[in-house]
């Protein structure tokens, strides 16, 4: 069998420990600190993005294979559209445009 993986899944375990760490830090910042709400949202939002990046690269093998650029460009574009949809919708509805 070619391309045997090493006997111990070290990168998976590192990824798992990191993912647990991001979650625990988000919990502590959200529930145990008295920072302003906006600061907390930016910190836990940033941790969610880190978590997503970790899953994409370490577990979903986004960088792997001959088609890696196609996968990366397509996925990044989808994430961009998701950000536009979410931020755009909330902005349009909360910025006072709905009065008119």
């Amino acid at each position: 069998m070619s391309n045997q993986e090493k006997g111990f899944p070290i990168s998976h375990i590192v990824g798992f420990l990191l993912s647990i760490t991001f979650t625990v830090v988000a919990l502590l910042v959200a529930l145990k600190t008295d920072l302003p709400k906006t600061t907390i949202m930016f910190v836990i939002g940033g941790l969610a993005v880190l978590q997503a990046g970790l899953q994409l690269i370490m577990f979903m093998h986004l960088n792997e294979g001959k088609d890696n650029y196609s996968k990366i460009i397509h996925t990044v574009y989808a994430i961009f559209m998701a950000v536009v949809i979410v931020i755009g919708s909330i902005w349009v509805v909360t910025a006072g445009h709905s009065i008119h």
Binding site: F16, A48, A52, F59, K66, D67, Y77
Partner: protein
């Protein structure tokens, strides 16, 4: 696309069809990102429209949410081990880790069903307010995906038992693992922007 098969590549890339299927599944995942983006934007717009019903901070049980998050994070890790064992050609290890992954997934699902029943008994139903409608649609769509993923994995286990690990079944397993990790990513955003933001 080159016609030659690279035998040093992982097994799921050793069939041209499986390679294309994996790329195609990433295209599907992009559409799923947009699906969940629309549900998150509906929730983001309607989260304060409680219409006299309970707000998130009154009904969310943050301890249960933490357990759900740990179950799904762990199942994402064990799904990573599934692919690791598959690439080593270890069918027995693959199936054992896949069953463990599904047990974590079923644990998550049973907690989510309990959570919905708890909300129902608190008088928080889909009809109560725009906030709860958007909450149930977002959580329900995610939960339905996890349910589908569980059934899908069982079908792949049957194929692995009858056909073994070959480039075709390995491609299917790889695609399923992408789906499962993707659901974990969506859950992290639900955990952060629905539950944590809701109880701040």
């Amino acid at each position: 696309m080159e016609g030659k098969i690279n035998t040093s590549a992982p097994i799921e890339y050793q069939s041209e069809q499986s390679k294309l299927n994996i790329l195609g599944f990433w295209v599907f995942l992009a559409a799923e990102i947009i699906l969940f983006a629309t549900l998150f934007s509906v929730f983001g717009v309607l989260k304060d429209r409680t219409a006299g019903g309970p707000a998130g901070s009154e009904i969310f049980e943050i301890k249960d949410v933490i357990i759900q998050t740990l179950l799904l994070l762990t199942s994402s890790f064990t799904a990573g081990i599934v692919i690791f064992e598959m690439r080593r050609g270890n069918r027995r290890g693959l199936i054992i880790w896949l069953v463990i992954t599904l047990l974590f997934g079923l644990g998550f699902l049973s907690m989510e069903i309990n959570e919905f029943m708890h909300y129902y008994h608190e008088g928080a139903t889909m009809q109560t307010s725009a906030f709860l409608s958007s909450l149930f649609v977002l959580l329900g769509t995610h939960g339905a995906h996890v349910t589908l993923g569980t059934g899908w994995a069982i079908l792949i286990i049957i194929q692995l038992l009858t056909k073994g690990i070959n480039p075709t079944t390995a491609g299917k397993m790889h695609i399923w693992s992408l789906y499962w990790h993707f659901l974990d990513v969506i859950w992290i955003f639900i955990f952060t922007f629905v539950y944590l933001a809701g109880v701040l």
